[in-house]
């Protein structure tokens, strides 16, 4: 693997996923399954392709890895709709969980703010709020301020999703947003922010996704993922405007 892929000692970027080498753990965040369904329910009757797109992109990551992960972590916002899950959608959830279960020993679903209720069962599936693997603390990121000290004290690195980070490139005339990973500091810890896996919004990022994001400026190192499998290292950025949700 190229040096570019390494975001932290023992953590590699594989497409939109993070790979914890020692733990053989693959982390994906913010899949928002059913986003297309939810749009359709609101009257945007777009073609419903999110499921197959999502699975084929995970397939790509697994192939890149070249080995079967022990754990696959879904770091929050597995599903999009907060409320009741219609039968058809439940079928989609099952399909994707079954697919993951066939490709790892254990699935850990970290509850995100969208995961009010997980309507599926699988004997490999475990649902939790936070996950500590060695010095790595994995949580969705919607409630950072209330992380239990018992976990915080043991953690050196915190891995979150939730904010759907995008990096904006502009030459003064044109501008494009690209999904990205960000390495920054939070209190005394290293904070790794993972881009959203939601395949429907890959060229847009936060601000277009929901209008409730607020913009903040921060310093950090950036790895952008302009297309499937491609990583571009942008180095340390002294100032970035990020579209973040208010609790951050």
């Amino acid at each position: 693997m190229k040096k570019e892929n390494s975001i932290f000692g023992g953590i590699k970027i594989i497409d939109l996923g993070l790979w914890l080498v020692r733990h053989k753990c693959l982390i994906l965040a913010d899949l928002h399954i059913g986003y297309d369904f939810s749009l359709a329910e609101k009257g945007f009757v777009i073609p419903q392709k999110q499921l197959s797109e999502t699975i084929s992109r995970i397939e790509f990551i697994l192939k890149e890895l070249g080995q079967t992960p022990k754990i696959i972590v879904i770091n929050g916002d597995f599903k999009h709709d907060f409320g009741y899950t219609p039968y058809k959608l439940k079928q989609e959830f099952e399909k994707i969980i079954n697919y993951l279960a066939n490709n790892c020993e254990k699935i850990i679903l970290i509850k995100g703010n969208h995961d009010t209720f997980i309507p599926i069962k699988n004997k490999k599936l475990e649902v939790t709020k936070n996950l500590l693997l060695g010095e790595f603390l994995i949580c969705h990121g919607d409630d950072l301020d209330n992380l239990p000290n018992s976990l915080l004290n043991k953690a050196k690195v915190i891995i979150i999703g939730h904010v759907h980070p995008v990096f904006e490139l502009t030459d003064g005339i044109r501008s494009e947003k690209v999904k990205c990973f960000i390495k920054t500091k939070w209190k005394t810890k290293t904070l790794l922010i993972q881009p959203a896996f939601n395949v429907l919004i890959d060229e847009l990022g936060g601000s277009s996704f929901e209008n409730s994001f607020r913009k903040i400026d921060l310093k950090g190192e950036v790895w952008a993922i302009p297309q499937i499998g491609q990583i571009l290292y942008f180095g340390k950025q002294p100032k970035m405007t990020l579209n973040l949700q208010s609790q951050f």
Binding site: F37, K49, S207, P226
Partner: protein, 858 residues
């Protein structure tokens, strides 16, 4: 192909009319008007008829007299049944009510002649008609039903009312010219074919203002039967009114005044003209300008304009507009200022002067606007063009020349619109399960779909059947079922009819964001426009320059920034594009004048030529002379045979100015294609700006015009432009409209009416989702078609590229230090759009290497 009607003798007409109608007619009129002489007999003989005649020429009655006569006959014989005999389709609801009144009066009078009521019922049905009234129409069915195109679409699926349409004998399409050139007309053309399936043959009668070519509008009106155009006679009763046209320039020499002086003099002249006439109608091209004119007249002449002045445009509330129309009719107003809303034929009483402030951009629009004056047939119509700048003056002069010489510009009718098609196929599936071949052949009878390919047709069927979705979800969101084995389609759910009826139509919902300075609302911008604004961006709104600060919900806060240069294009200005035929006429005129300059003819001779050629006075001819002379002395005068390209290094940027006088629609296509190629060739970002008479592309590097032009061919232009418009605001916006029309976005769903502002889903997300489903997803294809063929004019651009290749148009490249006089208006405008010339990934990679280079330096 179609025959022009011959006038019938009074006797022939009298022979075909019922005695009662005859008696009534001559109790009111002395003789038949010209359109009536041409049309009545043909309609009586059940021949499709297209009548082109000016307002006030008895056009409506030329259509109705024969119909009233037939209905009277049926009534007298006691054979009048409870069903619709005649459908009258009008583009505006306001027009519907006018027509009803115009019919009720004669019916009352005939009743008086006859001594008892004939029982002929006339009703208006629009989207606003109450449920109770609709129910009543089932029992007491109107014999003459007045409706809008959208309502006809809905009635075709109304299970009970549909049956009452089975014997329709006549369909009158009013203002057919206004409908034919947009998607409402496309929609109507299919509704007519569906009606034909239901009712069999009926007589189609089109009423039109001045339009060219009449044959194409006739084709649109009648459609095809077994591959041949259905018969139709044409009635051209235009120009029987005397036209009085004048182009006025508010100052003696438009080249020698400041903007403030020009504005001052414009208002003085405007005021003078208004005061010299009884009632004046002023047309501007934008809503903002309409407001500005009224504001200025009131401010500058407070004693003259208080309650006797009004605005009339589409942003004014409906009640206010109706009030204005009423006061206009009653002669209570001295002046009304309008944009486009008063162009169509609502009866607005007697107006003795129409002023066109700013070029109307086409001959037909000019005639339509001026035609609002002199409402009696005997009156002459009087119009004055008031030029607002020098390019505007040139346009005015040529438009008035063409109008006086009766050279009307060509109408363009949209074709193969897949979004409108989706609506109709859905509608037909709701009517009853049908074989797709029946549907296909019905559609192909419409002028607008005569060339529809089978692939496009099938792709729409597949879209409606949910074929582009995951299997699990297909059934949930499919609108129709399609059985490829039997070839039948049908509606999917019982809700289909409601969903169809509440969502059809072709006029798009717009998502607007209010723009405020402090608490004061200064205008509105498109939601997608807001999306691309960053703090500090400068843009133009309603002619003023503002700097964007922040937004909350659907409100954008800005501050005035009068001296800043815009950084963001104002794509969404409502600017009307200059008609291509007029643009060509300007090009030809320029050539004729240049030839005279090249021969060093004396000034007096050239001025004299200009005066005669443009049918104008000394003042205007001298202004034109001075303007052209300046350009000629500077470089050369671009014209219809010579495309002048100016390579200027100016304010640290390299401009390539193309003096392409082809109108905005064509220039839009050409400039984007060139910019796209430039960006790919030079690996740099390019910005473009467009006017009707020229455009530029600008970059940090020097560009070679010839090299760019070489890369474009007639054959690759369409595909090139498809790439060039990817990701642009205009595509996103049109996609949103098309998605609405094809019911991909439902305005009304599950009992909720959605305001567009609330939708808050980026069009780009929707576009991406469609692209994933298929590269040729029909709705996306339609949005691209609409941008390239309707918003722009790619077909004409192809011809121009061809003319350049075969030498009919010569390209002449010059280098200058400052922009030439003809380019001043263009440069002053600021750039209008950045071109996404590289694809997204190339752009990102380029930016990546730039960033890396910076990091490595540190």
């Amino acid at each position: 192909m179609f025959e022009y009607a011959k006038p019938a003798s009074t006797e022939e007409i009298l022979n075909c009319l019922h005695p009662l109608i005859k008696k009534w007619f001559f109790s009111k009129y002395k003789e038949f008007s010209l359109p009536q002489k041409y049309a009545i007999l043909n309609i009586h003989n059940k021949i499709n008829t297209l009548i082109s005649a000016p307002t006030g020429s008895g056009k409506t009655f030329s259509a109705f007299l024969s119909i009233l006569s037939e209905l009277t006959k049926l009534s007298c014989e006691g054979k009048l049944e409870n069903k619709v005999y005649c459908i009258y389709c009008a583009p505006l609801k306001a027009l519907s009510n006018d027509i009803r009144t115009n019919l009720l009066v004669p019916l009352q009078e005939i009743k008086a002649v006859y001594g008892r009521d004939l029982g002929i019922r006339v009703c208006v049905r629009t989207e606003d008609t109450l449920q109770s009234e609709r129910a009543k129409m089932l029992k007491e069915t109107p014999h003459i039903l007045i409706l809008t195109p959208e309502t006809l679409g809905i009635l075709l699926v109304a299970p009970k009312f549909r049956n009452l349409l089975k014997d329709v004998k006549w369909v009158i399409i009013d203002e057919v010219h206004a409908l034919a050139e947009n998607k409402r007309g496309v929609h109507l053309s299919l509704s007519l074919e569906r009606l034909q399936n239901l009712a069999g043959h009926f007589v189609r009668i089109g009423l039109s203002a001045t339009i060219y070519p009449l044959e194409n509008v006739a084709k649109f009106l009648v459609g095809l039967e077994n591959g041949d155009w259905r018969p139709c006679v044409l009635v051209d009763a235009n120009f029987q009114k005397k036209i009085e046209l004048q182009v006025l320039c508010p100052v003696k020499n438009i080249m020698a005044v400041t903007e403030a002086q020009l504005e001052n003099e414009t208002y003085n002249l405007l005021h003078k003209l208004i005061q010299e006439h009884k009632t004046t109608l002023v047309f501007t091209n934008t809503r903002a300008a309409t407001e500005r004119v009224v504001y200025n007249l009131k401010q500058r002449f407070p004693n003259y304009y208080v309650n006797n002045i009004a605005t009339h445009h589409s942003s004014v509330s409906r009640n206010l507009r109706l009030e204005t129309e009423k006061r206009l009719k009653n002669g209570e107003l001295k002046v009304v200022v309008s944009s486009t809303s008063l162009e169509l034929g609502i009866d607005i009483g007697s107006i003795d002067l129409v002023i066109l402030l700013g070029s109307p951009k086409s001959v037909s629009r000019a005639l339509q606007r001026i035609g609002r004056s002199g409402h009696n047939l005997s009156d002459s119509i009087k119009g004055i063009f008031l030029a607002v700048d020098r390019d505007d003056m040139i346009e005015d002069l040529l438009i008035s020349k063409l109008a006086l010489e009766k050279q009307i510009d060509r109408i363009k009718i949209p074709e193969n619109c897949l979004d409108v098609l989706s609506q109709h196929i859905y509608g037909m599936a709701i009517e009853e399960p049908q074989h797709i071949e029946t549907i296909y052949s019905t559609i192909k009878r419409s002028y607008c779909y005569r060339n529809l390919s089978r692939e496009d047709f099938i792709s729409v069927i597949k879209y409606l059947a949910g074929d582009y979705s995951e299997l699990e979800l297909q059934k949930v969101f499919a609108k129709i079922w399609y059985d490829p084995k039997t070839g039948f389609i049908g509606r999917k759910s019982k809700l289909a009819r409601v969903l169809y009826s509440t969502n059809i139509g072709t006029i798009p919902d717009e998502a607007y964001v209010l723009v405020k300075v402090g608490e004061q609302v200064i205008g509105k911008i498109d939601e997608e426009f807001l999306e691309r604004l960053k703090k500090g961006d400068v843009f133009v709104l309603g002619g003023q320059i503002y700097q964007y600060e922040f937004s909350r919900g659907m409100v954008a806060h800005v501050k005035p920034a009068p001296n800043k240069v815009p950084t963001i294009p104002s794509w969404y200005s409502e600017m009307l594009p200059l008609n291509y035929d007029v643009a060509l006429a300007i090009g030809k005129f320029r050539r004729l004048v240049e030839e005279k300059f090249n021969r060093y003819l004396p000034k007096a001779e050239i001025v004299d030529f200009i005066k005669k050629y443009l049918h104008t006075n000394d003042a205007a001819a001298i202004s034109v002379y001075e303007y052209f002379k300046e350009q000629w002395s500077f470089a050369k005068i671009p014209n219809d045979k010579c495309l002048l390209v100016e390579n200027v290094f100016f304010e640290n940027k390299h401009y390539l100015i193309f003096h392409a006088c082809f109108g905005r629609k064509v220039n839009d296509a050409l400039s984007r294609a060139l910019a796209y190629i430039a960006a790919r060739l030079y690996r740099t970002s390019i910005a473009v700006s467009i006017t009707d008479q020229n455009f530029y592309i600008v970059s940090r590097q020097k560009l070679d015009a010839k090299k760019l032009i070489e890369q474009i061919k007639k054959e690759n232009l369409y595909e090139l432009l498809k790439l060039a418009i990817e990701g642009t605001d205009i595509l996103k916006r049109r996609f949103r409209h098309c998605a609405g029309r094809s019911l991909l976005i439902l305005r009304q769903y599950k009992g909720n009416k959605k305001s567009v502002g609330r939708q808050q889903v980026s069009s780009q997300i929707l576009i991406n989702a469609c692209k994933r489903a298929s590269k040729d997803f029909p709705i996306l294809k339609e949005a691209q078609r609409e941008v390239l063929e309707d918003f722009m004019d790619v077909r004409t651009a192809e011809q121009i590229i061809d003319s350049i290749k075969n030498g009919e148009i010569r390209v002449s490249e010059i280098e200058t230090n400052t922009p030439s006089p003809f380019a001043i208006n263009l440069i002053a405008r600021g750039y209008s759009d950045a071109i996404r010339a590289e694809d997204r990934l190339e752009f990102i990679k380029r930016m990546h290497s730039l960033v890396l280079a910076k990091i490595n330096k540190k």
